[in-house]
Amino acid sequence: MSSLSDLFFEARIAAQNLADYVRGPSLRLGVTGLSRSGKTVFLTALIQHLTSAASPAMRLKKNPLPVFRVHAEGRLSGGHLEPQPDDAVPRFAFEDHISALTGPGGDIDARHWPESTRRISEFRLRLDFEAANKRRRPQSLTIDIVDYPGEWLLDLPLLGKTFGQWSRETLAASETPARLKIAADWRNFTLAQSPAGPADEEKARRAAELFTVYLRACRADDFGFSTLPPGRFLMPGDLEGSPALTFAPLAVEEGVSYEPGSFAAMMERRYESYKTHVVQPFFRDHFARIDRQIVLVDALAALNAGPAAVRDLETAITEVLMAFRTGKRSFLSALFRPRVDKILFAATKADHLHHESHDRLEAILRHLTARAILRAEDVGAAIDVIALASVRATREGRAGRGDQALEAVIGTPMAGEKIGADIFDGRTEAAIFPGELPLDPKAVFRDSAKSLTPEEMDYRFVRFRPPVATRNDAGAPLPLPHIRLDRALQFLIGDRLV
């Protein structure tokens, strides 16, 4: 990227931000998470709680958000979904997600988790509240949030990589024993091509196809979250078949520049245009202007899959977070170059564990994101790590035989989930003890001295169905239970509501 286009890129971000600043107090909340980490459910729960918290229907009920100060102090007077700022982006389908979670059309048996996100969507939430100082005048804060397929997030690290770098890294990643098998077709084809040979559209298409097949196979495998850019190969959106998506890594050598018209030069041009036309706009429109950030991490699924997946997850998170601008908020930065001054790392699906293990889960997440945390603290951003369940699907209890009782979680496992020989049908409730997390978080990483044997690292976090929502007299569902959603809200937006 030339320095002129860099400058232009920055200028556009600054101009957009200045326009936002003039419009009134607003906050852009970045929700970051790889695919299947629970972004959509988090956003749905967030909207449901914030819009209904101050409604008359909830007035006599128990406050579901005791830690969220503005509401606990009775200063929150309303929350509304507002028309979003960008007309070109679809609206977040909040109503559809709620009806999926509570059962479409009031049919409780049909309740299910929302489908995985296939395209970008956004919403704006306005909170009305009264300031806590003496004047107590009514104020409002608008919060802009974007939901997007988690696969796309993997593209952000590409912004800083050249075609050569990316090619070498991707090829190296496919050499690990676990992946060599599924990568065989694509590797055989690619390694046979000479990068200096003439450009050939047919070969490019074939390489891209085989490469996509390999990426899909990786994702279907246990290594679900791996570093698999480019993300649009997995979730193409409306770009399918365009030249910007018809490229693949080649065995290019370091420091060699290929002649125009060669195969490598064509691939490189397409890689660059992928960055300019796909990654950059995505970054500019949705990530460059973020004030607060929540990073959702499905650590339990990685633990389920084993140490290699844990290590992969760590790399992916660290790389993604490198793309964000963190730092203390100042007047000038608020005007022109917003920075993320608070980052919350949340281990989602904490309801799969008894709350006595939450501290250990938090320790594991803290270890997993240690590099990202260190970097953010260095520049003065505030950090917190929590175990979160945006929607709590289980209750807690003790279960066991004889005099040996274990802390268990009780819920309805999804159909097809199994522990040992038991296969659940999705209707019966069960008490599940998922195994004990290690006291020392390092133990879940493969290359640490204290790592556990596969037998010791035997966790079975089964997936549960959404809880049955309680309904008010009119039959409308009340906000679903959660774990620490209020703490997350307090950390992320609480200080802007005083």
């Binding site: 005791p66 100060r69 606990a72 939450h358 774990i483 703490r487």
Partner: protein, 340 residues
């Protein structure tokens, strides 16, 4: 260099397992940097804890002064006992009725004395428990320790069990203690719902006392009168604040409390030099220009406020964390507006 001082290495796990003589042993030296990092806490919070240790939670009475007073007190009670026995004997010698009346009165006096002493001890123990709660909450909040926070919250609720106006907050806390709420958040909620109401009451008391003191100083005809009045108000204020936060200081308990407040005043005087001391000097200067008596009135009011704020810090069962500790200006703004 002798043979046994050559460079070599000791393996940690070997040293731990083998315990015969001649085998290398390894002792860990405490890391001074680590200790320093652990000790570095909020200076205001440290001041409170030091002050509490000097007075309210001071464990021992064994000092030369204490020994002297105990011995002298013992002698005095022996003398009184002796005198009492003589008196009762004399009464019996005169008439049986007088003797019986005297004996009954003496017994009543002893029982009352015992009850008073019991109350005194109870008051001291209660004040100490509040101070221990304070230290415990600071620790549990720093470590986000849920189990400890739940235990402390239970004790805190028990402390205010006799106050109907806090019933709702206590019920709320009891309910949250069953829920998945982290230790730090639980403590913050307790502070917000239970303690902040008491803070407001304490601040009102301080403001009233400061107002009274400054008015009386300004209009009192004799300097002697305002010294007495300021002292009496300071004592009353300290007792009142201790009562608001759940303490029941008797005479000895009050002495301990006063020692803590004095220690806190001394420690924080230096820290407050930046704001209120300067204000005091400036304020005094300005007010003194208007009238010497008015200046003294403002000065005494400020002094009373400082005493009240120190008493608040020492008596409060948890450190200030969700809200900022109030300063002189927050509690008694009228002392400053009067100058203009």
């Amino acid at each position: 260099m002798s043979a046994d001082r050559k460079p070599r290495a000791f393996r940690l796990d070997e040293a731990e397992t083998i315990e015969s003589s001649g085998v290398p042993f390894i002792e860990m030296t405490p890391d001074p940097y680590e200790a320093e990092a652990l000790a570095a806490a909020d200076p205001e919070e440290q001041a409170v804890e030091v002050a509490q240790k000097r007075g309210v939670v001071a464990q021992t009475l064994i000092s030369w002064g204490g020994l002297f007073w105990s011995a002298a007190g013992g002698l005095l009670s022996l003398a009184i006992g002796l005198w009492l026995t003589h008196l009762v004997d004399d009464l019996f010698a005169r008439s049986l009725t007088f003797g019986v009346i005297g004996l009954v009165l003496a017994a009543l006096a002893v029982i009352a004395l015992l009850v008073m002493a019991g109350r005194e001890l109870f008051g001291i123990a209660r004040q100490r428990r509040i101070a221990e709660l304070h230290i415990g909450f600071a620790d549990a909040r720093a470590r986000d320790d849920t189990a400890k926070a739940r235990k402390l919250i239970k004790e805190l609720a028990a402390l205010y069990a006799a106050r109907p106006e806090s019933a709702r907050a206590r019920a709320h806390l009891a309910e949250l203690s069953q829920d998945i709420v982290d230790g730090r958040d639980l403590i913050d909620i307790a502070e917000r719902t239970l303690i902040e109401a008491l803070d407001r009451e304490a601040q009102r008391e301080i403001a009233q006392a400061a107002k009274r003191v400054s008015v009386v100083t300004t209009i009192a005809p004799r300097a002697f009168i305002d010294i007495l009045f300021v002292a009496a108000q300071a004592i009353r204020l300290m007792r009142r604040i201790a009562e608001i936060y759940g303490g029941r200081p008797g005479f000895l308990g009050f002495l301990k409390l006063a020692r803590s407040v004095g220690a806190h005043l001394t420690i924080t005087a230096g820290m407050a030099a930046g704001d209120s001391l300067l204000q005091q000097a400036v304020g005094h200067g300005l007010a003194a220009k208007v009238s010497a008596r008015l200046g003294e009135g403002v000065m005494n009011g400020l002094l009373t406020t400082r005493v009240g704020l120190s008493a608040m810090a020492v008596c409060r069962p948890m450190p200030f964390s969700t809200s900022r500790a109030p300063g002189v200006r927050d509690v008694a703004p009228f002392l400053f507006s009067a100058e203009k």
